[in-house]
C-alpha cells in the first residue's frame, strides 16, 4: 500500500483533478446557451452545441482510474476532489460527491477481459452508472424539495459523458501510460 508506484500514482491523480477543476473554473463560458432567434445553420449548430452541458470530466477520469489502478485513486482522495468540485460549483454540496464516490467504488478494481469486448463491457457499465447517477440525483433532490437540474439536459449530460469516456481513457493511456492492469500486477 505504501510503495512508490502507488504514491506517484496518487500524486498524478491529484494533479489531474486540480487541473480539471482549474480548467472548469476559467471565467470563459459565463454565458449559457443562446436562445436561437433566427434560423440559420450556424445559429442552430451553435445552439445545439451550446445546449448540451459539458460532461463531468472529473468523474470520468476517476472512473477510468479506479478501473485501471485501484490503489492510486483511493476513496478519500477522490472524495476531496469531488467535494471541492461541489463547493466550487454553486450546487448542493456533498450529494454529487457521495453519488460519484458510490459509482467509483462500484467500479474500483473491477476485472474486465483484455481487448475490445472487455472494454465494451466496461464502457457499457460506465454509461449505465452515469445515467443512474443523474436519475438518483434527480430523485433525491426532488424528494428533499431542492431545485433539481432539468431532467432532459441532465440525462443529455450523462450520455455525453458516456460518449466521451473512451476518449478520456485513450488520453489517460497516452499521456500517463494508464492501461488496464495485466493479471499478474492486478492490485497496484
Amino acid at each position: 500500500m505504501g510503495d512508490l508506484a502507488a504514491w506517484t500514482g496518487r500524486i498524478a491523480f491529484a494533479c489531474v483533478a486540480v487541473l480539471i477543476l482549474t480548467l472548469a473554473a476559467l471565467p470563459l463560458g459565463t454565458n449559457p446557451s443562446a436562445v436561437p432567434s433566427e434560423a440559420s445553420p450556424i445559429t442552430l449548430v451553435r445552439a445545439v452545441a451550446g445546449r448540451l452541458p459539458g460532461p463531468d470530466l472529473l468523474l470520468l477520469v476517476a472512473l477510468a482510474w479506479v478501473v485501471r489502478r485501484p490503489a492510486q485513486a483511493p476513496a478519500p482522495l477522490a472524495a476531496i476532489a469531488f467535494l471541492l468540485r461541489d463547493l466550487l460549483n454553486g450546487g448542493p454540496p456533498g450529494l454529487g460527491a457521495a453519488l460519484d464516490l458510490l459509482a467509483t467504488e462500484r467500479m474500483r478494481g473491477k476485472r474486465f477481459d483484455a481487448g475490445v469486448p472487455g472494454f465494451l463491457s466496461e464502457w457499457g457499465r460506465v454509461a449505465l452508472l452515469l445515467v443512474l447517477l443523474a436519475l438518483a440525483e434527480q430523485v433525491i433532490l426532488s424528494l428533499l424539495l431542492v431545485q433539481a437540474p432539468p431532467l432532459g439536459p441532465a440525462l443529455a449530460r450523462a450520455l455525453g459523458g458516456a460518449v466521451l469516456y473512451p476518449v478520456v481513457v485513450a488520453v489517460l493511456r497516452v499521456l500517463l501510460g494508464l492501461r488496464s492492469p495485466r493479471p499478474e500486477e492486478a492490485r497496484t
Binding site: M1, L23, L26, P27, P53, A75, L88, N89, A98, P149
Partner: protein
C-alpha cells in the same frame, strides 16, 4: 508473490472502511446543508476564499490565452468590422451630441429643482476570478469580499447593464449569481409602458420576463430597468431589452456582455430607510407628547417622566 494474498486480506477492508467513511461524510455534509444551509454556505464561502485566490496565478494566463485565441478568430473579418464600426461611430457621434445637450439641460433642471439623486449609486469594482458554475448553475467569483465591504444581495453590473446579485461573501472573494441562473429573480420595470415584471433566469442567455400584467403594451426593443421593488436592488439600473424568443416567450436580451465578464461593479446598497408609523403632532413643550401620555392624562394621573410607549 507470496505476500500478495496477505496484502489483499488487510488492504481491502481498510479501503472499504475509508470509502464508506468518505461517502458517509459527503452525505452528512449534504444533509447538514439541507437542514442548516446558511452555516454550510458560510463554510463554502470560507473554503472558496482559501482555494480560489491560490488558483488565480495559474488561471490568469490560461484565461488570457483563451481570450486571445478568441480575439484572433475575429481578425478574420476585421475589414468588415472596421467598416461597421465606422458607420456606428458616425451614428454614435450624433447621439453623443444629443446626449451632451440633454445632460446639460438635465443638470440645469435638477439644479433648479434642487433634486437629490439616490445616494446609493456608488460602487466597488472587482475582477472576475473564476466561473464557479456547473452546467446548471450560473455564477462567478469576484476578487472582492467582506474585507472590501461587500454585502450579500448587492447588485453586480458590468459597465453597462445588470449582471447579477452577490450571494455569499468570503473575506477575499464573493460569489455573484448571474441573471441567467435558474434561481435568479429580479423585479424590473419595462420602460415606455411602465409595466412591472420579474426577470426569471432559466439557464439560457436570455432570461424570461414573467408576471407581466399586460402583454399587449410591451414590445420587443423596450428597455428593461430594475424597479427597486423589494429593496434588494437600487432602481433604474439598465437590464436589457425585450425580445421574443422562438418559443413565443418574452425574454430579456441582456445589455451586459455576459460572454466577457472581466470586471464587475458591485453597487453599494444601504438598507432603505423606511418611514414607520404616522407622523406625530407637533405640540408646544409641556403638553403630553405621546398617545399614552394623553390617555394617562385623560385617565387623571399625570405621568412623572417622559415615558415613551
Amino acid at each position: 508473490m507470496a505476500r500478495k494474498p496477505e496484502k489483499q486480506s488487510y488492504a481491502r477492508p481498510i479501503g472499504r472502511i475509508f470509502a464508506v467513511g468518505a461517502i458517509g461524510l459527503c452525505l452528512l455534509i449534504f444533509v447538514i446543508w439541507r437542514i442548516d444551509s446558511p452555516r454550510v454556505e458560510r463554510l463554502r464561502a470560507q473554503i472558496v476564499d482559501r482555494v480560489v485566490p491560490n488558483m488565480d496565478w495559474a488561471m490568469a494566463p490560461m484565461t488570457a490565452a483563451a481570450r486571445m485565441v478568441g480575439d484572433f478568430q475575429s481578425y478574420a473579418r476585421i475589414y468588415e468590422q472596421n467598416r461597421e464600426l465606422r458607420r456606428e461611430l458616425q451614428q454614435m457621434q450624433a447621439w453623443r451630441e444629443a446626449a451632451l445637450q440633454l445632460e446639460q439641460q438635465n443638470a440645469r433642471l435638477l439644479d433648479l429643482n434642487n433634486v437629490r439623486l439616490d445616494p446609493r449609486f456608488t460602487w466597488i469594482t472587482g475582477r472576475v476570478l473564476a466561473d464557479s458554475g456547473s452546467p446548471f448553475r450560473q455564477s462567478v467569483l469576484l476578487n472582492v469580499g467582506a474585507r472590501d465591504g461587500i454585502g450579500d444581495g448587492w447588485a453586480a453590473m458590468d459597465g453597462l447593464g445588470l449582471v447579477g446579485r452577490i450571494s455569499g461573501t468570503g473575506q477575499r472573494t464573493a460569489r455573484a449569481i448571474l441573471l441567467t441562473d435558474a434561481t435568479s429573480r429580479v423585479p424590473v420595470t419595462i420602460q415606455p409602458s411602465g409595466q412591472n415584471a420579474i426577470i426569471q433566469g432559466d439557464n439560457t442567455s436570455a432570461p424570461v420576463i414573467g408576471f407581466l400584467e399586460d402583454d399587449a403594451v410591451v414590445r420587443p426593443g423596450d428597455r428593461i430597468v430594475t424597479s427597486g421593488d423589494g429593496d434588494v436592488f437600487p432602481s433604474g439600473v439598465l437590464v436589457g431589452q425585450v425580445a421574443v424568443g422562438r418559443d413565443g416567450l418574452r425574454r430579456a436580451r441582456l445589455s451586459a456582455d455576459m460572454d466577457r465578464l472581466e470586471f464587475l461593479r458591485v453597487l453599494r446598497a444601504r438598507p432603505a430607510e423606511g418611514i414607520e408609523g404616522a407622523g406625530r403632532l407637533v405640540l408646544p413643550a409641556g403638553l403630553p407628547q405621546t398617545r399614552d401620555e394623553v390617555d394617562a392624562e385623560i385617565a387623571g394621573e399625570a405621568p412623572e417622566d417622559d415615558v415613551d410607549g
